[in-house]
Amino acid sequence: MLNGNHSSSFISFLRRTSTYLILLVILVWFALLSPEFLTVGNLLTIALQTSLVALVAIGMTLTIITGGIDLSVGSVAALSGALAAGLATRGGLGTYPGLLIGLLTGLGMGFLNGAMIVWGRIPPFVATLASMAIARGLTLVYTQGRPIAGLDKTFTFWGGQGALGIPVPVWVLIVVAFLAYFLLKHTPLGLHIYAVGGGEETTRLAGVNVGLVKFSVYLISGLCAALSGLILTARLWSAQPNIGVGLELDAIAAAVLGGTSLAGGVGGIPGTLAGAFIIGVLSNGLNLLEMPSYNQQVVKGMVFILAVMLDYFIKQRQAKPKGNPAD
C-alpha cells in the first residue's frame, strides 16, 4: 500500500497516532501550566467526567463506521434515566428492575431507529433526528418537566466511587470499550460493520445481511446511550429531563477527533476514546487555567478544527503515492 521511504513511514506513523499525539501535547501543556492538573485526584476526575461522553461515543462510532449517524443519543440518555429513576422510586420497582427497564428503553429506541432506517429506508440523519424529538418529548411527558429525585444508595452507587479508588462509571467505560473493541476487531459482525461503511452494495452482493448489521449498530448505540443516561442519573442523584442536550455533538466530535470518517468504513474504539479524552481534558484543564467560559468555547472549537485538519493533511499526504485521493 505504501512505498517504503522514510518520509512516508513517518507520515504513516503520524496518521496512526495523530489523535494520541494531540492528546499528549494537551496533557503536557496543562501539566506545565497548572500545578493542580497532574494529580491522581484530578486525572480521576477527568476520567469520570469523560466516561459519560465516551460511552455514547463508542456506540456513535459504530453507527458512523456503517456510514450512518445517531442523533438521538442525548434524548435516549435522558429518557432511560428518567424511566429508570421514576420506576425505581415512585414506581416502587426498586433499583435493579428500574435500571433494567432503563437499558431496555435504550434498546427499544435503538430498535425504532433501526426499523426506520432498515425497513423504512429513511436516511439515518433524518430518522434519528425524529427519534431525538420523540425521546425528548416522552421524557418531558413522563417527568412532567420536573426532575425525579430520591434515588437510593444502590442506584447512586453507579455514579460514585468504585473499586481501587476508581469511579464506577470509569469501570463501566473500561468494560464497554473492551467489548466494543473486541466486537469490531475479532467478530464477523465487526468485519461486516466496516464492510457496510466501505460499500453497502458490494457487501450485500457478498451475501451479508446489511439490514441486520445496521440494526445491530443502532441497538448498540441505543444501549450505550441508555448506559450513559443511567450513569449520569446516578451521578446527579436525580433524573433531569434536560440532560444530554448536545451530547450527540460531543460524541460525534469524539469519534471524528479519533479518526472515524463520517463517510463510513473507517474508525475504531481506541481513537474514539482518545477523542473523548481530548474533549474532557480540555474542559477540565481550561477550567483549572481559569479561562473565561466564553473563550473556552472558542478554544475548543479551534482545537477541534486544527485536529481534524491535521488528520486530513496527514491522510492526504499518505494517499499521494498511490494517486489522487478520492476524499
Binding site: 503520524l14 501535547v25 494537551i26 417527568t143 426532575p147 448536545g246 487555567l289 486544527l306 499526504r317
Partner: protein, 310 residues
Amino acid sequence: MKRSIIYLLLAFVLVLAACTPAAQTATQAPQQGGEITLGLVISTLNNPFFVTLRDGAQKAADAAGVKLIVVDAQDDSAKMTAGIEDLINKKVSALLINPTDSDAVVPAIQKANEAGIPVFTVDRGSNGGTVVSHIASDNVAGGKMAAEFLCKAIGGKGNVVELQGIAGTSAARDRGQGFNEYMSASCKDAKIVAQQTADFNRDKGLKVFENILQAQPEIAGVFAHNDEMILGAIQAAEAAGRTGIVFVGFDAIDDAVQAVKDGKLAATVAQQPALMGQMAVETAVKYLKGEKVDASIPVPLNLVTKDTVK
C-alpha cells in the same frame, strides 16, 4: 505538504499558548488578594440576568480584593457537576454555586463538603449537602407579590390567565407556586381560567395568548412568569383589539420597564441580579474572615409599577 503539517502543528501550539496569560495572572493575583479565591459556578451565561449577576459578583470581588473564578454550566447539570469538581481540585477557598437544578447539585456539594470547601448557593437552592448560606431573591414571595397586586388591580374578581415558564425550572415552579397559593387563599373570587407554558419566550407568549384570547371572551388579568412572555401577550391583545386586561410580569427587563412607563404593563416584579452577585461574594468573604453569616440571605425584590418606576 509536510510544511503544511508543520504549520498546523504550530497553529495548534499557538492556540494552546493563548491559554498561558490567564495562568500567569492567576499566579500573581492571590498575593494581592489575601489568598482568598472564590469559585463561582453559574447555571448559564447565555442569559443577561446571570451575566449581570456575574458582573455584580466580579465588582464585589474586586472591591474586596479577592480573586473570582467563574465557570459557566451552560444550563447542563453534568457540566455544572464537572465545573464544581474542577474547582474543588483547584482548591478554591469557597464555592458560590448557582445550581442548574436543586436536586442535581447535591452530590457535587457533598464532594465539596468532603474536601472541606465551604459552599454558598445563589439564586437557586440545593436540596441537600451542607450549605453555609443561600443568597436569593425569594421567587415564591415574588409570585405572591404579583398575585397580590393583580388581585387588587382587577378588584378581586374575574378571569385570570397564568403564562408559565419552562416546565421543570425552579423559577417557573416557585413563581407559579407563590402566585397560585395567594390566588387560591386570598383572592377566591377570581378564577384562573388558563395556565399554559410559553417557555419564558416572547414569541411563544404571543402565540399561546392568541389562542387563549380565542377561547376566553373575558379576561381580567394575566400573570406571566417572566417579562418576555407578558410582552408577547400584550402584543397579542393589542393585535386582537382587546383592552381592559391587567398585565403583570416578572424580572423588570428594560423593555418591560418601558412598557410600564407607557402604561401597557401594569407591573413587573424586579429581581436585582447585580445585588445578588454582590451579596453572595460579600457573604462568602465575611464567612472566610471568620464572621458569622445567616443561613438565608434574602435579596430584596421590588414591584415596578407606574407609581414606582423611575
